[in-house]
């Protein structure tokens, strides 16, 4: 899950530093705190768990994506203030699992619940499991039916999917769109988002298996870079960096017609622009498959109620609960057992014009070839986003910006 709430910022940082203390609440219940970012779809589950365990009182706190992870780092460093359960996004899990001593080792007995690669993603080098998987990203393309129609393109999801088996054809469709698009509407939100989707499909990402950054020699990424830069030059991009306030406004103003959509992105669209209900739909992602984002629940060792926290984290990430989260928030489960279940596979989403989200995303999850994420994959992703943004802002040519990016991350 990668949902940067952004502007909430420093205030929350201060607040969560103060709210760090766990322990027992006044009425004799054991208080379990859980630190999250964005919408994990857990609210109903908390109530359900409290009902079944009257002695437990769950307190949740939510910060923006980057604040949450930085707070967690600070709390671990000072051995004070972490929540009993802390969510960690895939972009940060490698940095944390490099120091497994900070976390409670979780039982491997229930390993089979998760996709193999999801399980391994939070496994430290010495074989300690620090986090149970929540959701995975998967990939599709969310698109605006109304804008497609206005530009004379088909709006039916199967026809739209057929427009772009490859990213080259995606960009070609973009040019058609741009030729007749309504004023102010661009084809995609911003270069960094599209590039993230392309990178997520490559067999190798930023790192090789020896944890060396290989982005400079990665032909797949370079090819994607050139393609997206060309799209930007062709005026297909709204020039918005994902997860910024400007990007959020872009949803409300209809500034872009397509968006690379991991499952969690759909919850974000609903949060940002409830008025656009019914205008969105879901098509297949060019190139097939791919992954972007997904989270884990960890239990820091410093907590006062480690055993109860482990029990809660285990329960929250169990397949039954993942199915409920998928039903109410649309986050794609990391438990493969669910992909065969009717309730998951047949799920449709009213907001997205009754798109068969269950089928699209479970297909995507099955087709997904996991990519190895190195220690600072999240940082490299940020640097790449900045590099593409420099091109969009006209500050550098695509070549200059690429060279600076490679030099920055490989230094």
């Amino acid at each position: 899950m990668r949902r940067t709430g952004t502007m909430v910022g420093v205030g929350l940082l201060a607040a969560s530093l103060l709210a760090g203390c766990g322990g027992d609440s006044a009425d004799g219940k054991t208080r379990i705190t859980i630190g999250m970012f964005g919408n994990f779809g857990y609210q109903q589950l908390f109530e359900e768990y409290e009902k079944a365990h009257p002695e437990i009182d769950i307190t949740d706190r939510t910060a923006s994506y980057s604040d949450h992870h930085k707070n967690l780092a600070a709390h671990l460093a000072t051995n004070n203030g972490a929540a009993d359960i802390e969510a960690v996004d895939v972009g940060y899990i490698n940095q944390f699992k490099a120091n497994p001593g900070q976390f409670t080792e979780l039982s491997s007995d229930i390993k089979d619940r998760w996709l193999d690669w999801k399980w391994e993603g939070s496994l430290s080098k010495d074989g300690k499991q620090i986090g149970y998987g929540t959701d995975i990203g998967g990939l599709a393309i969310c698109y605006r039916r109304d804008l497609f129609e206005a530009a004379g393109l088909p709006s039916d999801r199967d026809q739209v999917s057929a427009l772009w088996p490859t990213w080259e054809q995606f960009m070609a469709t973009g040019k058609q769109f741009a030729a007749k698009a309504p004023a102010g509407a661009k084809f995609f939100d911003g270069g960094p988002t599209v590039l993230n989707a392309i990178v997520g499909q490559a067999p190798t990402g930023y790192y090789n298996k020896e944890d060396k950054i290989v982005v400079g020699d990665n032909a797949d990424i370079r090819k994607g870079w050139n393609l997206v830069s060309q799209g930007v030059a062709d005026g297909l991009s709204a020039g918005l960096l994902h997860s910024t306030p400007q990007w959020n406004t872009g949803f409300k103003q209809g500034q872009f017609a397509t968006l690379a959509c991991p499952a969690w992105m759909m919850a974000k669209i609903k949060d940002q622009a409830p008025d656009t209900k019914g205008k969105w739909d879901l098509a297949a992602v060019p190139g097939g498959g791919g992954n972007w984002g997904g989270s884990y629940l960890t239990v820091p060792k410093q907590g006062k109620n480690v055993d109860k926290a482990v029990a809660l984290a285990t329960w929250l990430t169990a397949p039954e609960q993942q199915a409920k989260v998928f039903a109410n928030a649309g986050l794609l489960p990391s438990a493969p057992k669910l992909y065969g279940e009717q309730s998951v596979a047949m799920k449709q989403d009213e907001f997205f014009n009754n798109a068969p989200v269950g089928k699209v995303f479970t297909d995507a999850a099955r087709a997904l070839k996991p990519q190895y994420q190195g220690p600072k994959a999240g940082d490299v992703q940020t640097a790449m986003g900045n590099a593409m943004l420099r091109v969009e802002q006209g500050k550098q040519s695509p070549d200059e910006s690429w060279q600076q990016f490679v030099a920055d991350v490989e230094e």
């Binding site: 910022g9 780092a73 600070a74 001593g101 400007q246 600072k376 940082d379 640097a383």
Partner: protein
């Protein structure tokens, strides 16, 4: 002998009691100021991961050497900090003088306005930044909307160095002008009116009175304000962080990454605790130097 002893105790009392009275402050400073400072100095000489203090290794001044000789991002951040210092400190003091001068007149609801100028200062930075983000938005910002009315095109505030510094400086100046204005106002009221009366008799205009009497008489307060503003600016973090929507790189090309923001990036994004501590210490040194320079500059205000 007895009186002698009493005499001595009395002398000690006079001599040392004041130290005892101010000791609590210094004790607190030692615990919350000096100790962190020294501990940071110790950490800054280590190669240390934020999450793994046990595995730290002592590397002497290597972090400093790398920062000063091989880290263009650090120098870029220092440059931005200096630029923002110029963009914020000078207008802050000038505006504050003007506001104080206005508040010093006889006007209706004086207390209301005097309290009012402090409001921006007590507003949370996060709230301020949200509002200013609306003003300085690229596509739907108010300033660009006004520019559009006059067909002046629109500015991508975050993209440029000058434009982003202007936007951030506007937040800082807006927030702190009132604070300094109140300090100036308080001492303006202490200037004897006879001085102005004499000047008026000599035929000095209002403007001349302001620059020749008011400003020189406020010299100590201006020095104080300059020092406070400088020290505050050197650790400017929240405004650029939030202006960049939570990104600690300060824009796509680090065009508005301040030194404090770079420290934050190194420490809490890269988890490079030793390196971040070295940045912190260089920042302390730079703050002392720049505060000293601005003190000297402000002292040049003529008092004759």
């Amino acid at each position: 002998m007895k009186t002698d002893w009493r005499e001595r105790r009395h002398r000690w009392d006079i001599r040392y009691a004041p130290y005892a009275y101010i000791a609590p402050y210094f004790l607190l400073f030692a615990v919350f100021g000096l100790f962190p400072l020294l501990y940071t100095a110790w950490v800054s000489m280590q190669d240390r991961n934020l999450l793994d203090g046990d595995a730290a290794t002592f590397i002497g001044l290597d972090n400093y050497v790398e920062l000063l000789t091989a880290d263009p991002h650090f120098w870029n951040a220092m440059g931005n900090t200096l630029s923002l210092w110029l963009f914020t400190t000078v207008p802050q003091i000038l505006f504050a003088l003007g506001v104080a001068q206005l508040l010093n007149r006889r006007l209706r609801g004086r207390t209301f306005f005097r309290m009012g100028v402090l409001l921006p200062n007590i507003t949370s930075v996060a709230a301020v930044t949200i509002i200013f983000a609306q003003l300085f938005g690229r596509d739907f910002g108010m300033i660009n909307w006004v520019l559009g009315l006059f067909d002046l095109g629109k500015i991508d505030w975050q993209a440029g160095t000058g434009s982003s510094h202007t936007a951030i400086a506007a937040m800082v100046v807006w927030r702190w002008t009132g604070y300094h204005a109140l300090i100036f106002l308080a001492s303006m009221q202490a200037i004897p009116t006879s001085v102005y009366e004499a000047a008026r008799l000599d035929g000095a205009s209002g403007w001349q009175q302001f620059w020749r009497i008011t400003v020189p008489m406020l010299r100590p307060q201006i020095i104080f304000s300059t020092v406070i503003a400088t020290a505050g600016n050197m650790r400017l973090l929240a405004e650029p962080l939030l202006f960049g929507a939570g990104g600690e790189t300060g824009g796509s090309d680090r065009q508005f990454q301040t030194a404090a923001l770079y420290l934050y990036e190194q420490g809490f994004k890269q988890f490079d605790f030793g390196y971040a501590s070295a940045v912190a210490w260089l920042l302390v040194i730079a703050t002392v130097v720049i505060t000293g320079l601005s003190y000297l500059a402000a002292r040049r205000i003529r008092t004759d």
